[in-house]
Amino acid sequence: MENLINTLKEQIIDVLNLEEITAEEIDAAAPIFGDNGLGLDSIDALELIVLLEKNYGIRFSDPSEAKQVFVSIATMAEYISKNRTK
């Protein structure tokens, strides 16, 4: 799980162009969205859906399901480990 969390952090930094933050600086348990999060918006959320699909073969039947998954890096990693198809 630790490995997956680190990989995921790097992938998110890359896909969302978070140039001013390093993987070490991201707290896996902290909220991704909201004022104290990573400064992400609704378009970033849609890009995260693409990331999950592209890298882990996870498709949400309803994109609003993603809300419960995109709480923190840890919740994302947990969901990926249970549902990944690649």
């Binding site: 969302l16 162009n17 978070l18 140039e19 001013e20 933050i21 400064g39 918006d41 609704s42 378009i43 970033d44 849609l46 890009e47 693409v50 699909e53 592209k54 498709r59 994109p63």
Partner: protein
């Protein structure tokens, strides 16, 4: 005052304005559900022109897009005596993505709508520089407003304004990646609305100076939300400001407000708040997307023409797809047509890039506009950025990097602590860096009612290609929502508006070449909006990391 002397609509519902109106009055819709264009894409709803109709409309040597534009302009020229080669006539094209269907990964230079507009002008023998309005979904309203202003400021005596977009995998996949498209026919303002239906079509209005008792664009305004690139302000900030700029509107005079009504959750909710905030909740509201879908660059013009024809027939049209109100603003959405004898309406529209437009359209009113552009604005700071250097007010700023690295260096030096910069595409980074340097040169004095008007030739070509790559590999088909947003060149305007809280008019125009005289005409015409006393304007063109230029000035009193 400029009046509309002729008009035409080409859509799946008909090839004339009257055919379209009659179909809509009869409750017809051209929207159907189509299977996804890739095995992983969901079905989508759209109003599309049938291939057998295209077979009749296509002109040899011209694309689908160009043919629709030419056919619509031809039909609107029928029966009016117009020497299109006159230097008193201009062509204004309104589009979001023009010929984008023709883009392939090897040949990229010729799909810019600026090039397309020149081809259309050449087809008709129009001799003046064609102007393309690329203001996302409000382009049609922006284009008519520009035409009216150019005529009122005596730059031209007549203007041919054509709005057009055709649907293609590029646009459909992009809107699907944004989760904005409904699989079934859209339902504007309804409690069960789940997204928009795409649409295609072309519409033309010809405006002329002083032609008497005809329909006219009496007033208009464009305002920015300064909120988000794609999500509208939840309180309807820019939209209510635009409505407020139309002056006092009385329900005794105004038959209805024709809303944008895309049937996305955010747009319709925002419009309801904007109408309520502008104290216009007592005027009936209708929306036409349930008949024709969202025709993008054509929408503002199609819906204005339909509204004019409806009032000529004494009718306020209903809103197909609307049953139960699903927005919180206090507004009165009409489900069914009703009679009226009023001869005025308001057209509302909003789009990506935070832009919002409103027009007051009237018939037979003698009120003339105060068209005097105020002349007191002078350039106080000017910046030029190329891949090799940055020059502010004639002085070279010391830099080391080249291309993208140069922009990053300017960011670190003048901006900093704005991580969103790294998410922007090259065009936006260029415009953003240039304008933020002007902002610091002016000690932050770019007030809320400033206007930002930018021009280029390349549109958003570098990001168009990047987005196309995400849908070019069958086995690796992942349309990128973030890239798709930046395929609208006017996104640079919202990036700047958000950062500096600029809520005045924002507009992006494409020209076939950098033509200072035309740019000056457009800027002067914009200044007829008397609330503008600070203006950021210039040329910003971008073909790649080693080929870009921004030359932008800040003008103030």
């Amino acid at each position: 005052m400029a009046t509309i002397i002729s008009h035409n609509i080409i859509s799946p519902l008909g090839l004339t304005s009257v055919d379209n109106y009659n179909a809509i009055l009869a409750g017809e819709s051209a929207i159907a559900t189509y299977p996804g264009l890739h095995k992983d894409m969901r079905p989508y709803s759209a109003s599309l022109i049938a291939s057998e109709v295209y077979d009749e409309l296509i002109i040899d040597g011209y694309s689908k897009y160009e043919s629709l534009v030419i056919q619509s302009i031809k039909r609107s020229l029928d029966g009016i005596d117009l020497d299109v080669s006159s230097i008193d006539i201009c062509l204004i094209l309104s589009t979001t993505k023009g010929n984008i269907e023709e883009l392939d990964l090897t040949e990229s230079q010729n799909v810019s709508p600026a090039v397309t507009a020149q081809r259309i002008a050449d087809y008709f023998g129009i001799t003046t520089t064609p102007i393309t309005v690329c203001n996302a979904c409000i382009s049609g309203v922006s284009a008519m407003l520009l035409a009216q202003r150019l005529i009122d400021t005596d730059s031209y005596k007549k203007a041919i304004v054509c709005g057009c977009d055709v649907q293609s995998e590029f646009i459909i996949s992009g809107f699907q990646s944004l989760n904005a498209v409904s699989q079934t026919s859209c339902r504007p303002f309804d409690i069960e609305r789940i997204g928009l239906s795409l649409g295609e079509g072309a519409a033309t209005v010809i405006l002329s100076q002083n032609k008497g008792d005809l329909w006219a664009i009496a007033k208009g305004a464009v305002r920015n939300d300064a909120y988000h690139n794609t999500t509208p302000s939840p309180v309807g900030e820019g939209s209510s400001l635009a409505l407020g700029s139309l002056g006092e509107l009385k329900s005794d005079d105004i038959a209805f407000i024709n809303a944008h009504g895309t049937a996305t959750m955010f747009n319709d909710q925002m419009e309801s708040k904007a109408i309520e905030r502008a104290n216009l909740g007592h005027i009936p509201v209708n929306a036409l997307k349930g008949n024709l879908g969202h025709t993008m660059g054509a929408a503002g013009i199609i819906e204005t023409i339909i509204s004019m024809v409806a009032l000529d027939n004494g009718v306020i049209l209903g809103s197909k797809g609307f049953e139960m109100k699903g927005v919180s603003g206090k507004i009165n959405v009409l489900p069914q047509p009703q009679p009226t004898d009023k001869k005025a309406f308001v057209k509302m529209i909003s789009g990506f890039g935070g832009c919002n437009g409103a027009l007051l359209v009237t018939k037979g009113q003698t009120e003339t506009n105060d068209a005097a552009a105020h002349t007191g604005l002078q350039p106080i700071h000017t910046i030029k950025i190329t891949p090799n250097e940055c020059i502010l007010d004639g002085n070279k700023i010391e830099t080391e990097g080249q291309g993208k690295a140069l922009l990053k260096e300017l960011y670190a030096k003048f901006i900093g602590s704005y991580p969103k910069f790294h998410k922007m595409d090259l065009l936006c980074q260029l415009g953003f860096a240039a304008i933020q340097i002007l902002h610091s040169a002016a000690n932050g004095n770019i007030p809320e009612n400033s206007s930002v008007i930018l021009f280029n030739r390349s549109s958003s070509i570098t990001t168009d290609i990047e987005y196309l790559k995400t849908i070019s590999d069958e086995e690796n088909y992942f349309p990128s929502p973030a890239l798709f947003v930046y395929t609208l060149p006017n996104i640079v305007l919202s990036e700047v508006a958000i950062k500096n809280q600029i809520k005045g008019e924002t507009a992006f125009y494409l020209l076939p070449q950098k033509d200072e005289a035309t740019m000056r005409q457009i800027i002067n015409s914009t200044l007829t909006d008397n609330s503008i006393n600070s203006l950021v304007t210039g040329w910003i063109d971008c073909y790649g990391e080693d080929d870009f230029v921004a030359e932008i000035s800040l003008l103030q009193n």
